[in-house]
């Protein structure tokens, strides 16, 4: 119910939303996506995976086998990368919003600089709305709380909606039912 509402709202904000029962299924999708994007891009573009993903060794190897995938997130790499992959903490159903504690610099780098941001979300992190989540959060422990609703957008020229100004042009949310919340 809440997921359906999220999906409607997020899709309305031009995000792409998928749901998987298991981590393995989500990783299958991810690997397929990476392979496809790489072959579609002649310049051999890179994908950056944030440490927040908390991948098991086997999972990491699986992704590492895809072309152009890196796990060391630096400013320089992020500025060049086409795809950023990270794990979110929460989501808000009534606005279709993803939320993460972005205090670590790499969290912000992979979710802001690349043209495509792929965000894994534990299905259990879904809240109905903003006030219900804010009531659970102590901002002094999460210094940089970032809310993301759809890709970067502007309507500053003649009020025409245009996607992808300074942030990602595509936001792909992968809800995973057995994904555990980040520590």
């Amino acid at each position: 119910m809440m997921y359906e509402r999220f999906k409607t709202k997020a899709t309305g904000a031009q995000a792409e939303v998928h749901r998987f029962p298991t981590r393995a299924a989500a990783l299958d999708f991810l690997a397929g996506f990476l392979n496809q994007e790489q072959s579609a891009d002649a310049q051999n573009a890179t994908a950056l995976v944030a440490a927040s993903m908390g991948l098991a060794d086997a999972e990491r190897e699986r992704l590492a086998a895809c072309p152009g995938v890196h796990f060391d997130v630096t400013r320089e790499r992020a500025a060049q990368a086409m795809i950023g992959i990270s794990q979110m903490d929460w989501a808000l159903a009534d606005t279709g919003t993803l939320v993460h504690d972005a205090t670590a610099a790499e969290e912000r780098l992979v979710s802001t600089l690349p043209a495509i941001h792929i965000a894994l979300v534990p299905s259990s992190g879904l809240y109905p709305d903003l006030p219900s989540l804010l009531a659970q959060i102590d901002p002094r422990r999460s210094r940089y709380l970032a809310f993301i609703t759809g890709p970067s957008r502007t309507a500053d020229i003649e009020r025409v909606l245009t996607i992808g100004v300074h942030g990602p042009k595509r936001l792909i949310a992968l809800f995973v039912d057995d994904l555990k919340a980040r520590a």
Binding site: T74, R140, L145, A146, I157, V160, V165, H166
Partner: protein, 714 residues
């Protein structure tokens, strides 16, 4: 009004790009805003926001001190700046210490307010605005024309010219391509900048947090990539508790751009790690710049409840015609007029406060629940208090308040202009008065005013009495409306009395800021209308009704006069507008319409005071339906027709296009008749159709009801 101001209005009105873009936006905004708030109790939401913001404003110093202590506990440096100079000195000092050469900024009205960029550039720094709209404005060397959409006045062609120069390449005006150019050009600047400057949409005292709301993602980059971050935040952004963030974040994007939430919201509490592992140096500048003085002002303290959504601009029927640049300063529109008077000087609002037609549309949508029209009236009152009334206005009020003299002068004037009178209208006026009849005829003045025609009316004795307050238009221009009202009330067993000592309702004086004159009008009318044995005081003019029912008391309060307040309240309790009373009489079975009649189609125009002050938009519609009319709603039925009392005389160039839009919306319904409850709107709209090709019948609701109830009486 200043000539250069009048010229800037003319320029704006003739800028088709501007009026086209704003017109389109304002139409879409109304629909989209309503959709964004679907399922949300807006009144409850804004009740919470205004309460929390009012609390913070009442404890501004304490909020700032708590914010500073809590933010400093996280490792941020907080500077509380009193004046714009204090802000600039502090920021320049931080920049100097770090040897800053390049600065990236995300959108901040506070920085625009103090012209921070000029100060940074004068100190040798290169500053890049990164919000697309702000960057366009920066390249053009202009001021923002709108708080949320700074470049809404520019076309894609103009933007393409600016960008072409900036990147030294001839660009097309394809919007996605222009946006890509901005991305490619600004990306390296984000990565290279030594200092990032942001504003702050909310600041939380209990945690030392601040909130950044953007769509483009530029604030995330500005607050992440440079090693030093300065957030410049006006103290009005302070709230007490972290939970207060919720309602503001719920309302801000919906009211600003009709979005459920913007693409990005960041809540920052203290310095975060830089990308090289060092800790960011975070400075938060809390700027006062006269906000504390506002907080101490009993009237203007509510202006600090503003969350800077700009919805007051988006729904303003004047703003959509003239845009933001005529306001002359950084803040524009309704709230901008008020902020300009405070952040600059009262005098600097002298011309721009006159742009407000007092339609009340902004007050309905303000998420901070600010009574913007009332505050603009208060500016007017203070301006008049400081500078006095112009001689001509004083002379006009002296005449207006003497009813028979006023009538005979108007009548003489209309007779003197005889060649220009055709039937019931004055079509053209000579010389400098020509503007008044440009696109609208004025009603001819009745030879005998209602007050003298009334004495000849024979009425049956009724079981109740109502005192009729005519107002100038029914008295002098439309006495037949007064006669119809008497017939209708007689039919319900009510006898009408007309207290001859009644005078002007005081609205013209009040809306000119002449509160002393308005107060004298109020006293004279209270004396005239406080009659024993009278159950109702009725008026068929919503502006007069609003004056009697609401404004007498508030005028006395503004002036600190307590002597007549009790009587003003007693009068207000008896005062009722025509349609509301008749609806009650119908409900009580004292008036009945013949069943099953088909009188044709009518569309209804909501007069500003009837809908937004008296909240009586439904009674006329239900009465018209009962009488046998089919009511076809028009687009923007409650948008002001541009009359606004003397507004149409002072700013005919704005009033005229408002009227044309209204005529178009009326015509588009295909209805044979347009009804309304205000003789002022009748004057404006009837006058408009008199000069139009395909006229539509324009009637006061009471005329249509009179026809249905008393056939053959006309």
């Amino acid at each position: 009004m200043d000539n250069s101001f009048k010229n800037s209005i003319q320029t704006a009105l003739h800028n088709a790009n501007l009026t086209g873009a704003l017109g389109k936006f304002s139409e879409a905004y109304k629909v989209n805003r309503a959709r964004a708030y679907e399922g949300i109790d807006f009144e409850a939401l804004r009740g919470r926001i205004s309460e929390r913001k009012a609390f913070a404003a009442a404890h501004l110093d304490e909020m700032a001190a708590r914010f500073a202590a809590n933010a400093e506990a996280t490792g941020a440096k907080v500077f509380r700046a009193k004046s714009p100079d204090d802000v600039k000195t502090y920021i320049l000092d931080v920049a100097r210490r770090h040897g800053v050469k390049t600065v990236v900024k995300s959108k901040s009205m506070a920085s625009e307010e103090i012209h921070l960029n000029a100060a940074l550039e004068a100190a040798g720094m290169t500053v890049s605005e990164t919000d697309l709209g702000e960057w366009i404005i920066q390249l053009a060397g202009q001021r923002p024309s709108h708080m949320v959409m700074p470049a809404i006045h520019m076309t894609k062609e103009e933007v393409s010219d600016l960008f072409s120069k900036a990147v030294d390449e001839r660009l097309s005006s394809d919007i996605p391509r222009l946006v890509q150019v901005a991305r490619d050009t600004l990306r390296p600047r984000f990565l290279e900048a030594d200092l990032g400057i942001t504003g702050g949409n909310i600041a939380v005292a209990e945690t030392g947090s601040f909130v950044l709301v953007t769509n483009e993602g530029n604030a995330r980059l500005v607050s992440s990539l440079p090693k030093v971050h300065i957030a410049l935040i006006g103290v009005e952004k302070l709230v007490e508790r972290f939970e207060d963030v919720g309602p503001i974040l719920q309302a801000l994007p919906k009211s600003a751009t009709a979005q459920a939430l913007t693409s990005y919201v960041s809540i920052i509490t203290g310095p975060v790690p830089n990308t090289d592992g060092s800790t960011k140096e975070l400075h938060i500048v809390l700027m006062d710049n006269r906000r504390s003085e506002m907080a101490a002002d009993p009237q203007f303290k509510q202006a600090l409840q503003c969350i800077r959504c700009a919805s007051c601009l988006n729904v303003c029927p004047i703003f959509r015609l003239v845009g933001g640049h005529v306001f002359g300063k950084v803040y524009t529109g309704g709230i901008g007029t008020i902020l300009t008077a405070w952040f600059h000087a009262l005098k600097s609002s002298e011309d721009i406060q006159g742009l407000c037609i007092q339609c009340g549309a902004c007050k309905e949508v303000c998420p901070g629940k600010i009574d913007i029209p009332e505050l603009i009236m208060e500016l007017r009152r203070r301006l008049v208090q400081e500078e006095g009334l112009p001689f001509i206005q004083k002379a006009i009020f002296a005449v207006v308040n003497n009813r028979r003299l006023f009538h005979s002068m108007m009548r003489t004037a209309s007779l003197a202009d005889r060649p220009f009178v055709k039937g019931r209208f004055i079509r053209h006026l000579p010389l400098f008065l020509a503007d008044l009849t440009d696109g609208r005829s004025l009603p001819a003045i009745a030879p005998v005013p209602f007050r003298d025609r009334f004495t000849r009316i024979v009425q049956p004795k009724g079981k109740e009495k109502a005192a009729f307050f005519a107002g100038c238009l029914i008295d002098f221009a439309y006495p037949e409306m007064g006669e119809a009202l008497v017939r209708i009330l007689n039919k319900a067993g009510i006898e009408v009395v007309f207290p001859d000592a009644q005078t002007c309702c005081g609205a013209p004086a009040r809306y000119s800021g002449a509160y002393e004159v308005a107060a004298q009008n109020a006293i004279d009318n209270i004396k005239a209308l406080s009659l024993d044995g009278v159950t109702y005081v009725i008026s068929a003019c919503p502006t007069c009704t609003a004056a009697l029912a609401k404004e007498f008391e508030s005028t006395f309060e503004s002036l600190g006069q307590t002597e007549w307040i009790q009587q003003a309240r007693a009068l207000a309790a008896k005062t009722v507008d025509f349609s509301t009373l008749v609806e009650r009489l119908v409900a009580a079975g004292r008036l009945t319409f013949e069943e099953g009649r088909a009188l044709g189609t009518v569309t209804y125009h909501d007069s500003c005071h009837l809908k937004r002050t008296l909240r009586a938009d439904q009674p006329p519609r239900s009465l018209l339906r009962r009488a046998g009319y089919e009511v076809k709603e028009m687009a923007e039925c409650d948008t002001c027709c541009g009359m606004g009392g003397s507004y149409s005389l002072k700013l005919p160039e704005i009033s005229a296009p408002m009227l044309q839009r209204k005529l178009g919306n009326i015509r588009a319904t295909g209805a044979e008749t347009v009804a309304m409850d205000c003789p002022g709107c009748v004057m404006q709209i009837r006058g408009g159709f008199d000069q139009a090709d395909r006229p539509v019948r324009v009637s006061h609701t009471l005329e249509l009801l009179d026809e249905a109830l008393n056939p053959g009486s006309l």
